[in-house]
């Protein structure tokens, strides 16, 4: 069975997509990723900027609005992004299931 060529997602990309299930601007993404990962994934600005650019190109996320007050762009996950996130979750769920019985 052929699987989506974007799988597996990197840990960072996974958390960014998960964070963007609710719309957020750039720095808020960094904070949410840190929170969601229990402080394990701390992204630096240059790395997040590149990741946003890349995920936009893949159409996994999209800009939804610009914050009127501070002019920062707000991003959100797309249906395509949501689909890939679910696929990766299934992949990991399977890994956990087969591992649990064996170790």
């Amino acid at each position: 069975m052929g699987r989506d060529k974007h799988l597996p997602l990197t840990e960072t990309v996974y958390y960014i997509l998960l964070a963007l299930t609710e719309p957020a601007h750039g720095y808020l993404i960094i904070q949410k990723v840190e929170e969601l990962s229990n402080g394990q994934v701390r992204m630096a600005a240059g790395t997040l900027y590149g990741a946003i650019e890349n995920l936009m190109k893949l159409k996994f996320i999209q800009p939804v609005s610009t914050d009127e007050n501070n002019r920062r762009k707000v991003y959100a996950i797309t249906d395509q992004g949501l689909a890939i996130l679910r696929l990766d979750m299934e992949r990991m769920r399977h890994m956990i299931a087969v591992t649990g019985d064996r170790i």
């Binding site: 960072t12 601007h25 750039g26 720095y27 960094i30 701390r42 992204m43 630096a44 600005a45 240059g46 790395t47 997040l48 900027y49 590149g50 990741a51 501070n70 002019r71 920062r72 762009k73």
Partner: protein, 209 residues
């Protein structure tokens, strides 16, 4: 204070800028090859360099917002300058503008691509120069041919030297002007090669910082 310098390695450039800050020279701005410093108290600054150009002004703004929000002050760089300089402003923030190897290597990839494009733009110019025979390596074999003073080579003693030395700068200009585009082309290719090598090295994680 102004200093003219050229780096092909971001890590060395950052180290130099940080060392300058330690000696009391605060980095202010960079214009092409010229770094501008202001005298200031010695400071353990952390300066980082990114390489990025932007199509739209709003993309550049968005990029700067993200860095400012993350505790970095933008020191120098414009929408199309490529080189972007940041100084760590938030003591609780991270010490680098990249948090993984791929993005850290990515800036070398963008730099290599830029030098490559610059080199490629020289190919039509070089072709035109070759076709029109303006590129003439023959002068290296017969340097006398670029001196136009009548009877120069029959002169003797002081008269010869006076005439010879007087014309030499003009002769060099005339005879070697054609060498500027090929040399520039070669220089850009070297820069592209060095950036690409650094990209590979960083990506292979041989440089752990």
């Amino acid at each position: 204070m102004k200093k003219y310098k050229h780096f092909t390695n971001f890590d060395k450039e950052e180290k130099w800028l940080n060392d300058m800050a330690k000696q009391g020279y605060r980095f202010v701005a960079k214009r092409s090859f010229c770094y501008e410093f202001a005298a200031d108290a010695p400071d353990n600054a952390i300066i980082k360099v990114d390489y990025r150009t932007f199509k739209k002004k709003e993309d550049f703004e968005e990029y700067l917002f993200l860095f400012e929000d993350s505790g970095w002050t933008h020191l120098s760089g414009s929408k199309s300058s490529g080189y972007q300089y940041f100084r760590k402003a938030d003591p609780r923030g991270s010490d680098d503008i990249f948090s993984d190897i791929d993005s850290k290597a990515g800036r070398y990839k963008r730099l290599a691509d830029m030098w490559e494009t610059m080199a490629l733009t020289f190919i039509p110019i070089l072709t035109a120069l070759l076709v029109s025979k303006a590129i003439d390596p023959g002068v290296l074999l017969d340097p006398k041919s670029i001196y136009y003073t009548p009877g120069l080579w029959d002169m003797e003693g002081a008269a010869f030297w006076r005439a010879f030395l007087f014309e030499t700068p003009f002769a060099i200009l005339r005879g070697c002007l054609w060498a500027i585009p090929p040399l520039t082309f070669a220089l850009y290719l070297i820069f592209a090669y060095k950036a690409h090598k650094q990209f590979k090295l960083t990506q292979e994680n041989k440089i752990i910082r």
